[in-house]
Structures are given as C-alpha cells and as structure tokens.
C-alpha cells in the first residue's frame, strides 16, 4: 500500500512539475457521471479520452459509488477546488445539483450536462443522445411488436429523479395513447435506481405480482441487464418479452438465447466524445450555448443547438440503434 502511495505521489509531483513548465495551460475538464462501476459510463469516458487525444485537453472523471446526489455534489466541489475550466455532468438528480453548479458557473466554470440533464438554471448546454421522443417511441414500438400488439406491460426505470428517464417515460406514455396500442396496458412503473440488486428484485416483484405480464421495457442499461437475469432465472424467457436500452456487451448472451429479441442504444463513446468537444468549444468561447449556434464535434461533424423547451438549450448526437440477435456479435466487443 505504501509503495502504491509513494509511486502515486511521485507521479503527482512530476505531473505538477510538468504542468508548471508548459507555457500554455491546457484546458481541464471535470467529468461527473451517475455512478462508477457502470460500463455505459466507462464507455463514455473512452469517448472523452478519444477527444482529449485529438484536442489536447486534460480531464478528470469520477462518479459516486452509490449513485447518490450527495456523492456528485462532493465530486463537483472537488472539481471547483481544482479550478477546472468546465464541468460535464450526467446528473443523478436534476434539481439537486443546481446550487453547486451555479456556484461553479459564478466562478467562471462552464457547465454542460450530457446523458441525464440538469435543470436549465444549472447548465449552459445539454447534450442529448437522441431526440427524446424517438427514444421513447422506438421502445414502445419494439415491445408492441414482440408481444403481438396486446397485453400487459411494465416499465423498469432507474431513479425517479433521473431527468432522462422521466422524459423518455413521458414520451412512452404519450406513444401508448395512440389507437394502435389500445390493447396494450401499462400496469406500472417501478424504480431500480440503476442498482443491480434493486433492479433485479423489482423485476422479480413484477414477475410474481403480475401473472399476466407480457412485456417489460427497461430504458436503462443496468435495469435491462438485471431484468434479463431475473426473467431467465424465473424461467420466463420468451414468455415475458424484454426490450429497453441495453449495452451490447452486457446483453450479448441474452440476445443470443432470445431472452431479449431486440433492444436499442446509441453509442456512449460518441456521447462522451461529443460532450467533450462541446465543453472545449465552450471554454474556448466558440459557443455560449445559445440557440442556433453550431460547433464541430470532431468526426461526428457539425452539431446545431436547439431550444430545449425547458428554459435551456440542447443538441443531439445521433439516432438510437437497434440491436438484434443477428447483429449482436458485431457490437458486443465495441461497448
């Protein structure tokens, strides 16, 4: 332990020396995500790394182990202390981090939210992976197709304070109002808090309490993976259909044995990559986060900023991509 400490210390000292020597201070980003130990965010960090090689900025990243609001606040306070140039956050609680982010902005730190946004007064720009309506719509379409257009379905979400979850669920419910989904009944929405344990138990609860349950949508990578395990353990593979937003690497087995026949996601690497480019553009003053501005997000091309309708602005990365048992082999090692 001592050795690790002294090596790390030496490295830290050398780094600080190195930094002092360079003429121009490189841009420093502070990346905060919902939790550690989540492959989705590990992939997003790879996107940041890719961008940092291209643009030459530095970044530190962290997330609370228990996906708590307080944990994120602590991390943000630390970033403020280290005087980062910008903070890129995927928030556990859209309202809970506003105060501390405002303090950051008062100090001149730029704030961008990605994946799960912060309330408008706490950010300057939001990066959405795709248009939210689409994300909601495709999942409803998928589950409807899988269960044959009629039956009971349920939603296993993450946390009730996750803005992205609430938005997508809202659009899902809107989609379900359409006449073609008349015979489908959404019985309940449960929350797994993006914790494997809790999500698994919630899914078990659904299986035990709703004997007529035909399908489950889980728009969270932790949730859909836990749900798949629970369905399989209960021997209900194929009897309860499953879809949602899943990571190909986590869901590969379940797509192969058809516990899940189709699911969606976008590329988290691209998401991190775009968020990085947006943050740097903002620090350099190229954009301010106002409607109509554009910036170039590296290999993703030009991105335009729109009115988010919540008092702030946003931009998107791309469209959701459908994973199936047929194409999963190709993607399971990418992310």
């Amino acid at each position: 332990m001592k050795r690790i400490l002294s090596v790390l210390l030496a490295a830290a000292m050398l780094l600080s020396l190195g930094l002092a020597v360079t003429a121009e201070e490189p841009i420093k980003l502070g990346v905060v995500y919902k939790q550690t130990g989540n492959p989705f965010f590990e992939a997003a960090v790879r996107g940041f790394e890719e961008a940092s090689k291209e643009l030459g900025f530095e970044f530190i990243h962290n997330g609370p182990a228990d996906s708590s609001n307080e944990g994120q606040i602590q991390i943000i306070e630390g970033f403020i202390q280290q005087e980062v140039d910008a903070i890129a956050i995927s928030a556990n609680d859209a309202a809970g981090v506003v105060s501390v982010l405002q303090t950051a902005m008062d100090k001149g730190i730029k704030v961008i939210s990605w994946d799960s946004k912060v309330l408008a007064e706490g950010r300057q720009l939001n990066i959405d992976p795709s248009v939210a309506q689409n994300i909601g719509r495709v999942q409803v379409e998928e589950i409807a197709a899988q269960i044959g257009g009629e039956g009971q379905i349920a939603i296993l979400s993450a946390a009730a304070t996750h803005d992205n979850q609430n938005t997508w669920i809202k659009y899902m419910k809107e989609e379900l109002e359409k006449p073609e989904y008349d015979k489908i009944e959404l019985v309940t929405v449960v929350y797994g808090d993006d914790l494997t344990d809790k999500s698994y138990q919630e899914m078990q609860g659904l299986i035990n309490s709703y004997p007529d349950l035909k399908g489950v949508i889980s728009p969270t990578t932790v949730g859909v993976a836990a749900a798949a395990v629970a369905i399989k353990d209960a021997g209900m593979s194929g009897k309860i259909k499953l879809t949602g937003l899943g990571l190909p690497s986590e869901m590969a087995d379940f797509l192969a044995d058809r516990t899940c026949e189709g699911m969606y996601l976008w590329n988290p690497i691209d998401l991190g990559y775009a968020a990085a480019y947006a943050s740097v553009a903002m620090v350099k003053g190229e954009i301010t986060g106002a409607v109509g501005e554009t910036f170039v997000a590296g290999r993703l091309g030009e991105r335009e900023i729109f009115d988010a309708g919540d008092g702030g602005t946003f931009t998107i990365v791309g469209d959701p991509f459908r994973f199936t048992p047929e194409n999963i082999e190709e993607w399971k090692n990418v992310y």
Binding site: T36, Y200, E202, S209, P211, G238, D257, R258
Partner: protein
C-alpha cells in the same frame, strides 16, 4: 421432604421453547400470507424463498459464532465484496473460450462456453481471503484490545477500500465470468436450488462443531463469562480469534454465492447486508451479549426475514417497490426482538419460581 418433580409432558413448556415458537410464527405467517395470495404458499415460491435466504443463513451461521463469544462483526459485507472481487479478478484474467457444445434451443448462434480457473479453486481463494480478513479482525479485537464495533467499523472501510484497489476501478460483469461460476447458483438438485444444498452443508458442519466439539462449547463458555472461562484454562483470546476466522471464511463463501447469483461483482457490493444478518441472529434468539443461541434459531430467524420480504412483494401491498417493505421490516424486527425479550423475561421468572429454596 417433598417429592422430586415428576417429568410430565407439559404442553406449556413445549410452547415456551423458542425454536418451536418461532417455527409456529413462521408457519402462521406463511399461512396468513398464503390465504391472501395462494401463489405465495406454492411449493415453487417456498423453494424460491429458501434459495433466496440461503446466503443470509450462511452468513448468520458465522455471525452466531461471533456473537456467541460476545463480539460482533459489521465488516462482513466488505469481506464478501473483497473475497468475491479477488476471485472475480482472477477468474476474469484467466477467462478463455472453449468450443461450443450443442446449440441451445432457439439460440441463433453457438455461444462459446467461457471457462476459467476451476470453481473449487476460486472458492478456496475466496474462503482464504475471508479467513484472512477474519484473522485481522480477530487479532485487533482479542489481542489489540480494540472494541469489536470500532475494530470492525474501521476494518469495514479498509476492506471495501482494498476491494476497490484489487478491482482496479473495474467491475466484473457477466461477460467476464466463466460458465461454471454463473451456473453455480443456478443448478438444482432434487428440486432445490444448489444454494440450498450449500447452505445445508454449512449448517450441518456448524451444527456438529457447535454442539459436539470441545472447541465449539468453548465459544459458549467465553461468551457467558470470559473471566471464568479464562480461569478454567480456556485461551479466551484464541477462541475469540477463531470465531472471527470462521465468520470470515463463511463470509468469503457467501460473497461467492452472492456474486454468482447477481452476475456482477462490484467493489461495493452487498453494502448494508450485515444489518439483516445481525437481525436474523437476534430474531433467532442469539444473545448479543454472548453466551447463548441455537443454530436452528438462527436459521429460522433468517427464514422469517426472507418470508416477510417475499410476502410483502407477493401481497402487492407495497406496489412492487421494495422499500415500503423496509419500514414494515423494521417494525417487524422490532416486534420480534421485543417479543424475544418478553419470552426471555418470562423464562427467567419461571426459572426463579421453580427454584427450590
């Protein structure tokens, strides 16, 4: 001179036997909940509850040993995490694909079977890590004279930190696990999940140890009166140490069961689990100040918690959400331990009354 007491079959006495009382309560619970929701009392579901509670029972067996000597260990969840993580990292690093067997029914492609270090070796590793943690705890408590709560509180932080270091910040996911490991808790034998059999094995071993070996009896002696035990020649420190090592080994095993069940090993897994285990022991009649407790009681205590847990879901009172359960669980545990106290007081009063002065 009055006649010696005749040994008559006294039904009252039977009822006051704690274990019997607890089993009756359990049956009553199952019956009541089953009335409301027949699916609950089905064989399938009951087997499911048993499998689910198996991990808690394994841990409670170890916790009982620790409580018996008058100590306590709140670092068990950390030990679970460290053991599972260590074994998991080893498994992950040695993972390779083996030739696929026959295509599973309905599968689109032949999923290659993942193999890694043999499972028994991994289990041994986990048990070893657990034993090591237990050793450290035991040394701090018996030889370092640090109070058990403080020692295990501190070691909890330290062990979780070690689990983080071992993991290198990564987690071990299903894709990093060997097929053996994943199936470890999913097999079934004679209709019961493999977890149940493992739990049963541990239960029997501990039963024999506690009841029939000299060392096992020493646990009770140390807990009832450490000073008296020392004066009778028992090495109190060694006995306390051994209790903690046993706890550690069982925690390591439990960690593997948990990880296999969960399909995921994270650096902070099982946080908070220790509280349930302690509660199970208390409900089962283990005295927290040491010296008394029955193994059957512990198993029944854990089952009670498992039944309540499952029952609340099945009754759909709680709208499918687990945490409404928490309040009720807390209340029930409170009621259970208070009832415990009253039983205990009644017992003591009766003993006093029956004394022939």
């Amino acid at each position: 001179m009055s006649k010696p007491p005749v040994k008559v079959f006294n039904p009252g006495r039977l009822l006051r036997n704690r274990e019997l009382g607890l089993s009756l309560v359990l049956l009553a619970l199952v019956g009541l909940i089953g009335l409301r929701n027949p699916a609950f009392a089905s064989i399938n579901n009951l087997q499911f509850i048993l499998g689910d509670t198996a991990i808690m029972i394994v841990l409670a067996l170890g916790m009982m040993c620790v409580l018996l000597v008058g100590s306590i260990d709140i670092s068990i969840s950390a030990v679970m995490a460290l053991s599972a993580m260590t074994a998991g990292i080893v498994m992950k690093n040695n993972l390779s694909q083996a030739e696929a067997q026959a295509l599973a029914e309905g599968a689109v492609s032949a999923a290659a079977v993942k193999v890694s270090t043999p499972l028994p070796l991994l289990l041994l590793l986990a048990a070893g890590v657990g034993a090591g943690c237990g050793l450290v705890n035991g040394l701090l408590i018996s030889y370092g004279r640090v109070l058990p709560i403080v020692a295990t509180l501190g070691s909890q932080y330290i062990i979780y930190g070690l689990s983080h270091l071992v993991s290198g910040g990564q987690a071990v996911y299903r894709k990093d696990m060997s097929e053996d490991f994943i199936q470890f808790t999913r097999g079934s034998f004679l209709g019961f999940n493999s977890k149940v059999w493992i739990m049963l094995a541990a239960f029997l071993v501990l039963l024999v140890f506690i009841t029939y070996t000299r060392h096992g009896r020493r646990l009770y002696a140390v807990g009832s009166n450490a000073e008296a035990a020392r004066l009778s020649g028992i090495n109190v420190r060694a006995v306390t140490l051994s209790a903690h090592v046993i706890m550690g080994i069982l925690a390591g095993l439990a960690g593997m069961l948990y990880a296999s069940h969960d399909n995921k090993i994270t650096q902070d897994m099982a946080m908070g689990y220790e509280m349930y285990v302690i509660a199970a022991c208390v409900i089962g009649g283990v005295s927290v100040t040491g010296g008394s407790g029955k193994i059957l009681g512990v198993a029944l205590g854990a089952l009670t918690i498992g039944v309540i847990n499952n029952g609340l879901t099945m009754l759909r009172l709680t709208g499918n959400s687990e945490f409404w359960k928490k309040a009720i669980q807390g209340a029930v545990i409170l009621v259970a331990i208070i009832t415990n106290v009253y039983i205990q007081r009644g017992h003591e009063r009766r003993v006093l009354r029956e004394r022939r002065l």
